[in-house]
Amino acid sequence: MSNIVFENVSYTYTEQPNLSNIPFAVKNINLTIEKGSSVVILGHNGSGKSTLAKLINGILLPTSGKVTVNGMDTSNQENILEIRRTVGMVFQNPDNQIVATVVEEDVAFGPENLGVPPHEIRSRVEYALNAVGMSEFRLHAPHQLSGGQKQRIAIAGVIAMKPQYIILDESTAMLDPYGRREILDTAHSLNKNENITTVLITHYMEEAVYADRVIVMNDGSVVMDGSPAYVFSNVDKLKAIGLDVPQPTELLYLLSKDGHKLPAGIMTVKDAADALEKYLLKGE
């Protein structure tokens, strides 16, 4: 039972549940996130994607339905520490999640809360800082670091708790392109090398390209769920809910709309160039 399961989950922020027309942030979600996968949840502002993330580790409890992590129900208070240890969460603003004035102290915060013995905390901190490539900054003050570096510290703080899942809730939204790259590479390497399930919540399409699975949310519901190739081959559908597609996809989409026979669901520049070359050579 190592996965995250949503069973018919709805959540509303309103406090009067007997209103006739309740605005649900998410409604009737049925979803299973398998361990070891890398998942991207796409959606524009207000689509319910952040609510979904907070439901996973029990920061929010479902208004109706049930969320379980490795079989543990989030609504059971006894499970909550174990769930939060299992599911690490990194937020949008790097400044607002760093607690201590020294990098290594901050990374140690999670394990300290869990009551891990001191010498083991030390080795976990070293391991976590290594995993995000920040070992040399261990004694720096957080405010001396760049946005991307701070966010990597936040990720290290989560890794030190030895989680099975890491949710990055718009963690790249406040970063410059370079910082964004840092975080995506870190997430990618955690998924591949440490076998940690990563759930990336974002509204940047490019971040979805390398995921195993893309879930598209709109108005509190899942509207598309599948491989990146599958999701990005439905350009019309994505545009209808106000989402963009990666530039290469867009180019091929526009060309095929003009009658050129090009494959759909291509996401990288290289693949697009290859497809175009093949098409042009064939056309000659």
Binding site: N93, Q97, V99, E112
Partner: protein
């Protein structure tokens, strides 16, 4: 610019003072303060000066820094010294200008008072702020006050608050700068006008600053919860503080110092003090 201010004036280093366990520093500072107030005659005051000088040399902190640290107390020291000089009564006046009579006792009292305040400030800032990082100090306070937990004093919570406050000072300073620039770009004027106008000009800085601080607090609370924070119960610490032999040598030296101050007070001198 504002970002570069040093917090609590900590100067990293490797001196014997830097190496002392922060808990021992707090204990030693307390003993030092008590000793200062026991000093009553010229010999004990001489010892006080000697000890302050030894501390200064051992710390490796530049003298200019220490003198700078004394600046804020110059006014109060001078003011009390003057009061002591003019208002202390003795037997035979040194200078007699009718109403104004200056007695030698007044001058001695003023001099001793200056030594007392200066060595107090120098000693405690050398021990606590110049050579101890704020985080080590907070940590040490939490550990020293740990027994108070039995009396339901929220020791851990206070220490956590201190840590978070220290952590967010640079962040909030940076934020203040941003808001000021944003308001300036909209034509706000912080530099001219009378005091009232300038105070009024601060309102558009303070309100956004407070709103953002509350939002930060909210987000930080959620982030802490996500990292399994549930108060001080069952919490461990990565850093283990251990007293070394060296720390006990310091304690021993300090105790000898205090006892000497106390004993030196009994050496008879001709100088009489009014305290």
């Amino acid at each position: 610019m504002l970002k570069d201010i040093t917090l609590g004036q900590f100067f990293p280093g490797n001196s014997p003072l830097h190496k002392m366990d922060p808990r021992m520093k707090i204990i030693i500072s307390a003993i030092f303060i008590v000793a200062i107030f026991f000093a009553k005659n010229i010999f004990s005051f001489a010892l006080l000066i000697l000890f302050s000088l030894i501390l200064t040399t051992l710390s490796g902190i530049k003298h200019s820094v220490i003198l700078k640290g004394l600046k804020p107390i110059v006014f109060i020291v001078v003011f009390t010294a003057i009061i002591n000089i003019f208002w202390t009564k003795g037997e035979t006046p040194l200078i007699n200008f009718g109403i104004i009579k200056i007695y030698p006792e007044g001058i001695y009292t003023a001099a001793f008072m200056i030594i007392r305040v200066v060595s107090l400030v120098v000693g405690t800032s050398l021990l606590l702020s110049y050579t101890t990082s704020p985080i080590a100090l907070t940590d040490a306070l939490e550990r020293l006050m740990n027994p108070l937990k039995k009396l339901k004093v929220p020791v851990h919570e206070f220490a956590m608050m201190m840590t978070i406050a220290l952590r967010f000072i640079p962040t909030l300073i940076e934020e203040t700068e941003k808001i000021m620039n944003a308001q300036k770009a909209r034509g706000a004027d912080f530099e001219s006008g009378n005091l009232l106008n300038r105070l009024k000009a601060l309102v558009p800085i303070l309100i956004p600053l407070f709103i953002s601080a509350f939002r930060r607090a909210d987000e930080l609370a959620v982030a802490m919860e996500c990292r399994c924070y549930h108060g001080g119960d069952g919490r461990t610490k990565m850093k283990i503080l251990r007293f070394s032999v060296f720390d006990f040598v310091w304690l021993f030296v300090m105790l000898i110092f205090s006892v000497s101050v106390f004993c030196l007070n009994y050496i008879p001198t001709t100088i009489k003090l009014s305290f």
